[in-house]
């Protein structure tokens, strides 16, 4: 019996985890990644520290990447799936490398680990993203932190006071995003802690509706941010951002505990931009004929009991392609999808052998 051939689409935490497990189990694995490196969105967008342990992103992801590179996985960087056809003898896939050459493969089963993208805050015009240079989103600010270059884009000065606004492009009927991004709270609070750790003189405020730092993030991130780093929290969603006379930003919000309107000046504002299905996720779903669920992510066959099955037999899904998820969840799902993909391929091989007898 020859080794099963399995395709993993996407080289982020979920894809890496799936590819490694499959290789360990003796499968022939091809990992297709559109970027020129492995590690996915956390690497691409230069994330800084990862909650809850405030570990640098390299420490979290590099071991995953190394394992995949050393396990005999065929990694195809700068590549994407160009065509996809399922038939009786497997999935016929053409992979296009950047530059144009097409390679044809046949796989027994497939794992989509195509990930998410941060929501584009330009659409929330009242927050002035793209108009005021000191209004940043998650990816801008993570990069700033990872490069240890905390300065106001408008004038290059070190900020004295920074605000975070949670749920931008999440939990908002106005922009058609009805769901919680699950990461905005913990990432914002983590960023504020990171700022206070490096620059205790900078004052930090988080504007929230609810704080959803579930599980161990509660004490390790939320409580610690208050008790150790004196990060301050304001219950109320900012309505709009104005420019103050001194060039600072003015956050117009209701402090719902004081029950008063507030116009508080800040040097920088970070928008906690939510998660949506990535372009790659949507395109692959279309190519492979996978159904999407109501929020635009790939639909699991059963969201409760079969979370890594898709609506197409033999194609499995892992990580943020099915909805917002943290890195450890994506890694676990990668392993889960690997198991399912391997079982599917083996079952198919047994069935074929029985037929030929």
């Amino acid at each position: 019996m020859s080794s099963p051939r399995i395709l993993v689409v996407g080289g982020g935490p979920a894809g890496l985890s799936a590819a490694w497990d499959l290789a360990e189990a003796g499968a022939n694995v091809v990992l297709v990644e559109e970027e020129g490196f492995l590690g996915g969105t956390p690497k691409k967008l230069h994330y800084s520290l990862i909650a809850p342990d405030l570990k640098p992103v390299q420490e979290v992801l590099d071991p995953l990447v190394r394992r995949v590179e050393q396990s005999g996985v065929e990694v195809m960087l700068n590549s994407e799936v160009a065509s996809f056809k399922g038939s009786g003898d497997g999935f016929h896939v053409e992979v296009r490398r950047k530059g144009g050459s097409l390679e044809s493969h046949v796989f027994d089963s497939v794992i989509a680990a195509t990930g998410f993208a941060h929501w584009d805050p330009h659409k929330k015009y009242e927050y002035g993203y793209g108009v005021y240079p000191d209004v940043l989103d998650f990816k801008d600010f993570e990069r700033m932190l990872s490069e240890d270059n905390l300065r106001r884009p408008s004038n290059g000065e070190t900020p004295k006071r920074i605000a975070w606004l949670l749920c931008v492009g999440s939990r908002d009927k106005q922009v058609g995003k009805f769901y919680c991004c699950r990461m905005g709270c913990v990432v914002s609070i983590k960023q504020a802690m990171e700022v206070r750790q490096k620059h205790p003189e900078i004052d930090t405020y988080v504007y929230y509706m609810d704080i959803r730092t579930y599980g161990f993030w509660e004490d390790k991130v939320y409580w610690r941010s208050m008790e150790e780093f004196n990060v301050k929290f304001v219950r109320g969603r900012i309505g709009s951002i104005n420019r103050g006379e001194d060039g600072r930003l003015v956050a117009m919000a209701e402090d719902t505990i004081l029950q008063r309107p507030t116009e508080v000046p800040f040097d920088m504002l970070v928008l906690a931009t939510g998660m949506e299905a990535s372009r790659g996720t949507v395109e692959f779903a279309k190519l492979a004929g996978l159904e999407l669920e109501e929020h635009g992510f790939i639909k699991p066959l059963q969201s409760d009991s079969l979370p890594v099955h898709t609506t197409v037999e033999g194609i499995f899904v892992a990580g943020t392609a099915t909805g917002p998820k943290a890195i450890p969840d994506s890694v676990s799902e990668g392993s889960a999808a690997a198991m399912k993909a391997l079982n599917f391929a083996r079952r198919k091989a047994v069935a074929e052998r029985q037929q030929t007898r």
């Binding site: 409580w223 208050m226 008790e227 304001v234 004081l258 008063r260 309107p261 507030t262 116009e263 000046p265």
Partner: protein, 231 residues
């Protein structure tokens, strides 16, 4: 436009001028009433920093405004003193809303130190101590002078420091005469004292307990008190 329905406006925010002149033109009368804006123009860390730097107030940063303290506060609930809201005092201090905090000078000292708040707080805020620390800040700002409670505390400490054991009778007597509390007249005091002695609740005069070697402890206690309570 003249302001109608003034009853809908927070009284503190109504400004009435004796006379109003606009470019030399007298527009007094209906035009001399103004409403101060409600917008809070800034947050400040002044109060928070001051309170958090005192030994009693350092747990103020833990507070997440759940309201457990106020829900069980006997002043707020049983005595019905709506204005006494420890959760809110903490928030005003956290956000440096001094104009609002100032309004509570007449009530913030009303805590009876039952400590239910401290026992119940899920975040480990020493609410009773924090509120006293906020009160101390308000006093340092001159928003409030000494109060019956602060005078009691003073008399209490002075009494205790003498022998290390509280002399309740002497404390009550000195406090009552100083505060001129009419209901604590001589007859009442005498009856209460006899009752307390008979039931063994207090020992006074020659029967009073003493702490051995108290002088040494007293010196340390005094030093701590003079140093602002930092042990």
């Amino acid at each position: 436009m003249p302001i109608h329905e003034k009853n809908l406006v927070d009284k503190d925010r109504l400004l009435v001028k004796e006379e109003a002149k606009l470019d030399g033109l007298d527009v007094s009368g209906q035009w001399s009433t103004f409403i101060e804006q409600r917008i809070l123009g800034d947050y400040s860390t002044d109060v928070l920093d001051a309170v958090a730097s005192t030994p009693a107030g350092k747990t103020i940063v833990n507070c997440w405004q759940c309201g457990t303290c106020t829900a069980g506060c006997c002043m707020h609930t049983d005595f019905g003193l709506r204005e006494f809201n420890p959760r809110y005092f903490i928030y005003l201090a956290q956000k440096g809303a001094e104009d609002e905090l100032k309004k509570y000078a007449p009530v913030i000292w009303r805590c009876v130190t039952c400590n239910k708040c401290v026992e119940r707080c899920p975040k480990g805020v020493r609410v009773e101590e924090v509120v006293h620390s906020i009160e101390g800040y308000m006093r340092s700002k001159g928003w409030m002078g000494d109060t019956p409670a602060s005078r009691w505390d003073e008399a209490f400490v002075k009494n205790t420091l003498q022998t290390g054991v509280l002399d309740e009778l002497a404390l009550t007597r000195s406090y009552v005469s100083r505060e001129k509390l009419a209901e604590f007249n001589n007859r009442f005091m005498l009856r209460m004292a006899l009752k307390l002695v008979r039931t063994g609740r207090i020992r006074t005069g020659p029967l009073r307990h003493r702490v051995k070697g108290w002088e040494k402890v007293r010196d340390v206690a005094k030093e701590i008190l003079e140093g602002g309570g930092e042990g």
